[in-house]
């Protein structure tokens, strides 16, 4: 099983080290900004353990995010004021294929290719004097690719790293996906619910990990993503996804060489989407999840992980659908 490892300072001989020979992290959570302030905050890198192993790796991750709880601020709500859109539910399933190459223990680059399967239903603008009529949409298509390079050569122990990456506008965006049922049939889905955002985003991040005892490793990471250009940039027909700051803290229980239970705390703050096509008032927020999970080494090359994310805090602007839980499972194979 892969391990985290950390340095030992000359003045602190009790420090840590754990080796990182095993399988490494090649997957990373897909960007989920299409679902406003929810989900996809799990750190898959940490779930599998940051790696110093060189070579190629393939990965596949499945994320299930069912947003069926309407929330506003820090509370669950039963409805929206007249004039606001009353959404019913959004079911997101992300299948993300990853390809990672590490020429040595200090550098690696990861390409993440998501396939987005999403169904969404809404009652449209709420009018207490009119009967509720449901409109729905369904889409299944490629999402936005992400290419992320990491450098972890600052320390001989390779337990401090930085990331620089880009998210590309490869998924359908803008008004591509339309409602297929109900009174809104033929109308375009919200820009934030399209498979892609139409934007090119810069991603920067950092991570740190170390053993803190015989049985436990600690890790922390942070990642910031911001759109630097967007296809939808014409006045009246523009959309720019809000910036997102995501961070995770976690403990990995390393007593067993082949299975590593762990607990993550995932935090995300997202600023409002912008532009005429954006739902500015209902697309920002701060959320926190507690995420128990496990990584299992099935042989020397194959590693699996599974996590459940349980929301413990949310402060959402406006009215947003929020998941009661999310599920992420993944597999990583070293070539």
């Amino acid at each position: 099983m892969n391990s985290l490892r950390a340095p030992r300072g000359p003045t602190a001989p009790r420090a840590v080290l754990s080796f990182a020979f095993a399988l490494g992290a090649i997957v990373s959570a897909p960007a989920a900004f299409a679902c406003a302030s929810c989900g996809c905050t799990l750190s898959a890198d940490a779930a599998l353990g940051y790696s110093v192993a060189s070579g190629w790796r393939l990965s596949l991750e499945y994320d299930y995010i069912h947003q069926d709880e309407l929330r506003s601020g820090t509370q669950s709500v039963s409805g929206v004021p007249p004039g606001q859109e009353l959404e019913r539910e959004t079911l997101n399933r992300y299948i993300t294929a990853g390809l990672n190459y590490a020429p040595n223990s200090s550098w690696n680059v990861t390409l993440l290719m998501p396939w987005v399967v999403r169904t969404h239903s809404t009652y449209g603008e709420y009018d207490p004097d009119e009967p509720l009529e449901l409109s729905s949409s369904s889409s299944s298509s490629v999402g936005d690719l992400r290419l992320i390079g990491s450098y972890q050569g600052f320390l001989a122990t390779h337990n401090l790293g930085v990331q620089l990456g880009v998210k590309l506008p490869t998924g359908q965006y803008g008004t591509a996906v339309k409602f297929e049922g109900g009174p809104l049939t033929g109308e375009p889905l919200d820009a934030s619910l399209q498979p892609g955002t139409g934007s090119t985003d810069v991603i920067v991040g950092a991570y740190y990990f170390r053993a803190i005892s015989r049985d436990f490793d600690f890790f922390a990471n942070v990642q910031f993503q911001a759109a630097v250009s967007h296809h939808l940039d014409e006045p009246g027909n523009d959309f720019r996804p809000g910036n997102a700051l995501t961070g995770s803290l976690g403990l990995r229980y390393e007593a067993h060489p082949t299975w590593v239970p762990q607990l993550q705390v995932n935090l995300q703050h997202k600023s409002p989407d912008q532009g005429a096509l954006a739902d500015v008032q209902n697309s920002a927020g701060t959320v926190a999840y507690v995420s128990p999970g496990i990584a299992v080494a099935a042989g020397k090359k194959l590693e699996l992980f599974g996590f459940v994310q349980l929301p413990v805090y949310s402060n959402l602007y406006g009215y947003q659908l929020f998941p009661r839980y999310t599920v992420s499972v993944g597999v990583s194979y070293r070539l």
């Binding site: 490892r5 030992r8 001989p13 754990s18 080796f19 020979f21 001989a156 049985d215 229980y253």
Partner: protein, 170 residues
């Protein structure tokens, strides 16, 4: 978070932490020492099982570990002085293979064999979660010292005299 979810998380954590762990918990001074094989930098295999009758020190280190670098010359000198009395030191480096040249350079200054551990696990000695750490095995193959329980993880000259020299006299 709901009470049910909280209860579920706590239950899972409790079960995980209570599960038996394949680790160094079984290490016990006076009990047979777990076997371990050093694959030296020149490819030799040296197993503790084949060293019965000798006093064996297993030491774990890395090039980037300053306390280890301070310990190694002391240990090398002690090993050279007591080799004829039946002392063998096996040194396991936790360096990446990429640092092999540096490991070799250091190994060339030492009086005992060195190899790369190649993992963060050292069999029954557990996960090498901090460095340095050393273990001593007596002539009967019993664990004489559990490095995880040492107050000072780096072996000092005084500690060697106190811990190992009496074993060599037996």
């Amino acid at each position: 978070m709901s009470g049910g979810a909280r209860h579920w998380i706590l239950s899972v954590l409790a079960a995980l932490l209570a599960a038996p762990a394949a680790r160094a918990a079984e290490l016990r001074v006076g009990a047979p020492a777990p076997p371990l094989t050093l694959v030296t930098l020149d490819g030799q295999h040296i197993s503790t099982a084949d060293l019965r009758g000798q006093v064996v020190i297993l030491t774990f280190w890395a090039t980037w570990c300053a306390p280890c670098r301070a310990e190694l010359p002391l240990l090398s000198d002690y090993a050279a002085r007591h080799h004829a009395e039946g002392l063998t030191v096996l040194a396991f480096s936790l360096d990446d293979p990429e640092r092999l040249a540096e490991v070799r350079a250091i190994a060339a200054t030492l009086s005992f064999p060195v190899g790369l551990l190649g993992s963060d696990r050292a069999g029954g000695y557990g996960r090498m979660w901090r460095l340095p750490v050393s273990f001593t095995i007596d002539r009967a193959g019993r664990l004489a010292n559990d490095g995880w329980k040492e107050k000072n993880p780096a072996l000092q000259a005084g500690r060697l005299e106190e811990l190992v020299t009496p074993l060599l006299a037996k």
